[in-house]
């Protein structure tokens, strides 16, 4: 194991899969000559050439569809959205063509494509550039959605996504690109299955369910809560769909109290679905109502103070945990 950044981990995943399979190629805005808007594709053009590392014009709908068409005839495209906020311009391609093709064709056309890029609110980017799209995409049958929070998960999930025979969205955490973590060396083929949550911290009093940018938030809160004699277990979903319900129920059977902290919006957000499943399936294990900490239900303001007020934060999370613990 060695310590690398989340950005480097993604870069390694791309390079390893490009090396491994000649049908894999990467395309998107600024991925080649510019080396990636967030430098995730740094050095890939030099190494793999312009046939496989392809700069596109600003045409998200067009190049997303182009990737899907290439996947229909058996290539394995990786389509980078400069941010998933821009994927909304390609929404029709992703949700109609990538998602529905297998069913509409009676099983003839699977779409082995990976859509990836930063997702979720970053820092003062305003309403158009701050979308957390996981709740939108997870709503569609036929899409897999993962949300890595650590360099290790980023690498392992992206590699798995590229090899998957279905459309997979790898929603990277924009604020975590420079974060560091321990990752297996490149010669170990690190694959992390989709649909497997991970206990990022063990605890016994309360379960905090989180993913992507709320994982470091949850871990910080858990450390602080320990000082107040509340032992929090932190479950990182890692994949939104498929959802690892067993991991959630196993933890709740131990703690009996749950707070879901998510980076998306409250109405029909990821936490709403997780909460529904918890109350439906293990209601008797609960000692308190399930609480959610999410964004406020407003378009994201630019102003820094207001933006902070919209986002989940440590204070909101600690307050929610104390509430479910009646502390």
């Amino acid at each position: 194991m060695r310590e690398i950044t989340y950005r480097q981990a993604l870069n390694e995943a791309l390079a390893e899969e490009l090396e491994r399979d000649p049908d894999v190629f990467l395309m998107g805005e600024e991925v080649a000559e510019y080396n990636g808007a967030y430098k995730v594709s740094q050095g890939l053009l030099d190494r793999f050439g312009p046939k496989r590392i392809i700069d596109t014009p600003i045409s998200e709908n067009g190049f997303a569809g182009m990737g899907i068409g290439a996947a229909m005839v058996g290539l394995r495209p990786i389509v980078e959205f400069m941010t998933f906020s821009f994927s909304l311009v390609a929404f029709d391609q992703v949700v109609n063509n990538a998602t529905n093709m297998l069913t509409m064709s009676g099983g003839q056309f699977n779409i082995p494509i990976t859509f990836r890029g930063p997702n979720g609110p970053a820092h003062q980017l305003g309403a158009t550039h701050s979308h957390a799209t996981e709740c939108l995409y997870a709503n569609f049958p036929g899409l897999k959605v993962c949300t890595p929070a650590t360099p290790r998960d980023a690498k392992g999930l992206l590699k798995t996504a590229i090899r998957d025979n279905n459309p997979v969205l790898v929603l990277e955490a924009e604020l975590l690109y420079s974060s560091k973590g321990m990752v297996e060396p490149p010669d170990e083929d690190l694959l992390i299955p989709l649909g497997e949550a991970e206990v990022k911290r063990e605890g016994s009093d309360v379960t905090i369910i989180c993913y992507a940018q709320t994982v470091p938030l949850a871990l910080n809160a858990a450390a602080q809560l320990e000082d107040e004699d509340i032992s929090a277990e932190v479950i990182d979903l890692r994949s939104i769909k498929p959802l690892d319900e067993e991991a959630i129920y196993k933890s709740i059977a131990k703690t009996h109290r749950v707070v879901i902290v998510e980076q998306d919006r409250p109405f029909c957000g990821v936490g709403a679905e997780v909460c529904y499943r918890i109350q439906k399936n293990i209601f008797d294990e609960l000692d308190a109502p399930v609480l959610r900490v999410s964004q406020e239900d407003v378009p994201m303001p630019y102003n820094e103070r207001l933006e902070k007020a919209v986002l989940p934060n440590n204070d909101k999370l600690i307050a929610a945990v104390k509430k479910v613990c009646y502390a």
Binding site: F63, I68, A71, M72, N110
Partner: protein
């Protein structure tokens, strides 16, 4: 390239098959054997049959929702086409796609796409894959005049031209996007000029004339095979029926319809072949009877086919496995 006369007769019989199949489908729709929407191609047959005559079986075809003819000419059986309309398991999309979503991978029919313009980027991706693999295969992307004002269409044309991809865009201009005439939807005097904005070579063909369509496409496809590039043709054609089965087409005059009926692609090719001594009336009648019989038989096949089993409801959301 001129095809042998035998092939022209075959192509005429293919046009007849398409025509008789759709007439039968129309009747079955009215008898409420077919659900959803059903858009008929009747009148436009020379376009896709001309394209089929000018291309190889392994060239990719992809089109919009008026797609029955495209599957039939690629080799999908009338049985599988009719069964799809009936929503049966033996349909070309297993009964899960319906009229607007015909697919047949083994015959290189890549759909049947029902969001206007949204399949044009897919065609560009398919052409990209051919070039990526060094194949000389050409993608033929069909769409209506209604698609040319969609963003996806414009983005796709730019990408195809920019990356020099082996794709032929075929605008089947039947003058109406549903009930809106081209004059009321499009700022251009002629649709073919759309291509000029992307430096894509473009041409107009008489879409009611099989030979003209075939010869023009043949020439373009030959050029694309030599050196991959995008190309565009506007095929001027006409649909005799409404936009869909529920459309009485009151937005156009009887005179206009009659004018085009006089120029019917089947009658025209038949007359050409007869005049040239390549087809007798008896031969034509026999072919027509066979086409009608095949259409009738497809209804029987569809009626007798099973529904897709309920237990398979969840089988088509994801495929298992990963690349080896």
């Amino acid at each position: 390239m001129q095809l042998a006369e035998r092939d022209e007769v075959e192509m005429l019989s293919l046009m007849l098959l398409v025509r008789r199949f759709e007439e039968r489908a129309s009747q079955q729709y009215q008898a409420q054997k077919i659900g959803g929407f059903c858009h008929l191609y009747i009148g436009q047959e020379a376009v896709v049959v001309g394209a089929a005559a000018a291309t190889r079986h392994d060239d990719y075809f992809i089109t919009a929702y008026r797609d029955h003819a495209h599957a039939l000419v690629k080799g999908t059986s009338p049985d599988a086409c009719m069964a799809e309309l009936f929503g049966k398991e033996t349909g070309c999309s297993g009964g899960l796609g319906g009229s607007m979503h015909y697919f047949d991978r083994k015959n290189h029919m890549y759909g049947g796409h029902a969001i206007v313009g949204a399949h044009v980027p897919l065609a560009v991706g398919m052409a990209f894959a051919s070039k990526y693999r060094g194949e000389d295969r050409v993608t033929l992307c069909f769409f209506g005049d209604g698609a040319i004002n969609q963003g996806a269409f414009h983005e796709a044309l730019n990408l195809a031209a920019l990356f020099k991809l082996p794709v032929l865009f075929i605008c089947e201009n039947n003058l109406f996007a549903m009930g809106t005439s081209v004059k009321r939807s499009t700022s251009l005097k002629q649709i073919v000029d759309r291509a000029e904005g992307y430096d894509i070579p473009a041409d107009i063909v008489d879409g009611m004339n099989f030979r003209e369509v075939r010869d023009k496409i043949s020439e373009i496809v030959g050029s694309i095979r030599k050196e991959p590039h995008a190309a565009f043709i506007e095929a001027r054609t006409y649909r005799y029926r409404g936009h869909s089965m529920s459309d009485p087409a009151s937005y156009r005059t009887k005179d206009e319809l009659e004018k085009y009926r006089m120029d019917d692609p089947i009658i025209r090719l038949r007359a050409q072949l007869t005049r040239e001594g390549k087809l007798t009336n008896e031969q034509f009648d026999k072919m027509d009877r066979e086409a009608k019989d095949a259409a009738m038989a497809s209804v029987k096949f569809a009626e007798q086919s099973p529904e897709p089993p309920l237990e398979k409801l969840y089988d088509y959301t994801f495929v298992d496995g990963a690349s080896a």
